[in-house]
Symmetry: C2
Subunit: 515 residues, 2 copies
């Protein structure tokens, strides 16, 4: 790590003992040595932690290790331990997603992520997307219920990581969190509901550094919680983290960055300017809103091959029996169903097609991906007509978002020099298939890159580099957002994209017009 300059640092210091000729108070004595030996000026401290310093100094015979956080230009003492504990210095980077929570346990000395844990956000029980989470806050106690769910889950993730790695929770001295504006509001106990209604204004997009004890996360209670700033109600700190992760803000090239997370945010820009918008739809391509959709975790079908006879081969993550389908396989399947004529360009299942996998239910037609006997869940895993409709709406929204951003800058897809796709798809994502259904624009394949979860990556970078944390703040202030529903041309552009790959095939010259 060439730029390792973490937000959390430990420093061993030997403090001259007080004497009658040097009677400075304990705290002023520490401040003097922090300044003289470490170059730290104006260190602040919480009042309760301050109360314990005298005892630690004396028990440690004036040889102590201070843990410092450095954020927003301010240095805070977050711990003081007896003796030299510099070797054990840990912190967390967290992605607070609507669907998925990720916690990276980071050794701040080496800059290495030593372990990572992914869980579903248990708030999902109260709705899959941010809109339903906000609606849940209308209920008495709804906000604190959502708050408690996410904090409890994060605590059990931290507990798991600590136990696995033989680390005490008190040895973790801070956390940097990235998440969309609604998730971070809930994490901090803020009412997010103003974001739901025009003009979609959040309480705040910048978050003060607070104590871990104030968030309820069980690490060193005087450790810090820093949530990365966002831009607006629908462009949150996860996108700031993503931009940081991609380096878009420092790029000479024009980059189009699409986060196919639950909200489908799109960012366009370079070092000179950045514009962004958020799709109003959650992302079916991450499995949201589909009965058998799931994250790219154990048991997810991540690759599908449709044979000529209408039969199927699939591959699951960790080679377990399937539990559901993740994004890469959904793209595979949709592209092949289209190519084979099982669905038409509007995504409608062709009932005439002869296959035992096509069947009718009370809700309409569906396509069987795996038979119950093959699965972990003893149920047929299917892609229903409504699932296909969802997928098409989402890809249309993403396409329309990119188009609007480009238009706002008087550009076209051909001006994009790099297309970065973030999301939790599985390893086997097939670019050609993604383009053939119009999820991605038809641009030069070498320009396209899949970058995985850019939110957790950005949060980890910000944790490990004070400069990157400052960059995140600059990114958040420099992004101009577009409210898609206010763009007069949005609905036309969106509607035209409700075909596979698009109504206007001239936009997809490399794609053969499907049957």
């Amino acid at each position: 790590m060439p730029n390792l300059n973490p937000v959390i640092k430990k420093r061993y210091v030997e403090i001259p003992e007080p004497s009658l000729s040097d009677t400075l108070g304990d705290w002023q004595r520490l401040l003097r040595e922090f300044k003289n030996k470490l170059g730290y000026n104006g260190v602040s401290v919480n009042i309760s932690l301050l109360g314990s310093l005298g005892r630690v100094l004396r028990e440690g015979n004036w040889k102590v290790t201070g843990t410092f956080s450095e954020t927003d230009g301010r240095i805070q003492l977050v711990n003081l331990e007896k003796g030299n504990t510099e070797a054990r210095s840990y912190a967390l980077a967290c992605d607070i997603g609507t669907t998925t929570l990720v916690v990276n346990l980071v050794d701040v000395n080496s800059g290495k992520v030593i372990d990572s844990k992914t869980s579903y956000n248990p708030q999902r029980a109260h709705g899959e997307d941010v809109t339903s989470r906000m609606a849940h806050c209308d209920q008495e106690g709804g906000l604190s219920q959502l708050y408690q769910l996410v904090v409890d889950e994060l605590n059990s993730m931290v507990d798991y990581l600590c136990t696995s790695q033989g680390i005490k929770q008190d040895e973790i001295n801070g956390m940097v969190c990235a998440g969309n504006t609604i998730m971070i509001h809930i994490l901090l106990g803020f009412d997010p509901r103003t974001i739901r209604k025009e003009p979609y204004v959040p309480l705040t997009t910048f978050y003060p550094v607070i104590l871990a004890s104030e968030t309820g996360i069980k690490i060193n209670p005087y450790g810090i919680t820093k949530c990365l700033p966002g831009v607006s109600g629908y462009i949150g700190g996860d996108i700031t983290a993503g931009v940081l992760s991609t380096g878009l803000n420092e790029s000479n090239e024009i980059i189009l960055f699409i986060d196919i997370g639950t909200n489908g945010e799109t960012v366009l820009g370079s070092k000179d300017w950045i514009v962004a918008c958020s799709g109003s739809a959650g992302s079916a391509f991450e499995g949201c809103g589909l009965e058998f959709g799931m994250s790219a975790t154990s048991g997810a079908i991540e690759k599908i091959t449709l044979r000529e006879n209408g039969e199927i081969n699939y591959k699951t993550l960790d080679n377990e029996n399937p539990k559901g389908v993740c994004g890469s396989a959904l793209i595979d399947l949709l592209a092949q169903l289209l190519e084979s004529g099982i669905i038409n360009r509007q995504g409608k299942i062709n009932a005439e097609f002869k296959s035992s996998r096509i069947r009718r239910t009370v809700l309409g037609y569906e396509f069987v991906i795996a038979w119950g006997s093959e699965t972990q869940i003893n149920k047929d895993i299917v892609l229903a007509q409504t699932d296909i409709d969802n997928l098409i709406r989402d890809k249309a929204a993403l396409y329309a978002g990119s188009t609007i951003l480009l238009k706002s800058m008087q550009m076209e897809f051909s001006n994009v020099e790099k297309l970065l796709i973030a999301g939790n798809f599985g390893r086997h994502l097939d670019v050609e298939k993604a383009i053939s259904i119009g999820l991605l624009p038809d641009i030069e394949r070498s320009k396209i890159e899949f970058i995985g979860n850019s939110s957790i990556d950005g949060a980890t970078r910000a944790l490990l580099s004070i400069e990157d944390l400052e960059k995140a703040q600059q990114i958040a202030t420099s992004i101009t957002t577009f409210e898609l529903t206010r763009e007069p041309s949005y609905y036309d552009i969106y509607t035209s994209a409700l075909f596979l790959p698009h109504t206007d095939m001239s936009l997809f010259p490399s794609v053969k017009t499907p049957k």
Copy 2:
């Protein structure tokens, strides 16, 4: 008040409502208006208070009153209320004395102290002086017991003031406290015991600004508590406040400032330099350590005239029947007992003197000041031989302290251009008598001034002027302290002063050598 620039300020602001063309988050929107309309940059806010701002803004139709604190160069939002509440803006100045607590309720708009309450510090149940308070902390739970006692008493004082003045406790948005280092440590829950042993080092002499809720004082929980900084374990924020109150730090003249409080601190200096020391004795002249000693409150005998026949006339505060004796009367009495020969220059009661007021008890001789039938307490109010011994020891310690400070600067009492005496004596203090017993040095009478409680006055000034608060911080860093017990000549100087007025009568040329 020409310099009225209080640490706590209310400001009414009308905030432009958000719209689709101005979608800034609530907090960023407030910050923008604070900057544009009030010139406040980088306002910080507690996370819980932040959580409530969206509701207040909307309920107030974006017309709100912010309450700000400005300390240590940082501006904090401590309250946001609907509508215009500028007219009602209150704060507290507190003197946390070892013996006495004083709370001033201040209208920060007018700069006026609108009410004031004085109480005994209930910690007195665990010892009269700071040494015994520290000793009490050796007991299990002793520190938190002392903490709770002072906080409960302060809360009942605040409650009394609020009820009297028709003010809600939530309308009080901050407090500035002055007190000696041990009292402030206990108030903040800090263990003061390191101050007791060589090298007498406190945990801290500068105190971070904290929330009122963190001290447990029941005012607006987001209001601030600012404790004035001290210099050392035995020169505390009460002395910093005193120096601020007297203007010693900006004076062209050499000022000797003696605080005859419980600890007897002495300060010498001018705008160019300041030195200080603390007497090791508590102040008998404030009634401490005397069975019938008391503060100058209702029922205290505050003036005594000894008639030629050995009989007594006295005057009490508020003309109530007497409960005890305060400082001014103790000085009166001691001087007249000496003059009349009832005590000799060593303070010993002359048993031969014919007066029904002199009597012998198992503990030695005593002098009856008021007969039980005249008092509120149905007990004879007396001055015992041990009381006289205490008074003499204390005046000797004060005299020795001043002498040491002067010697350290190669000065004598004749170099003192102003002598300021702070303390809670009662209105009728007689300078000639104070000099005749050697409590005050024999200097030109016009140079001597009694200034009352300079600690509460300094705290009130610091509350009402950000500049004065900053000066207090400068004063605390600029004072050089002397540890009297380390000065080789101290015990000689002290012992010589154990006579009335002094062993060396040439130091008291204007005083007639007593019989």
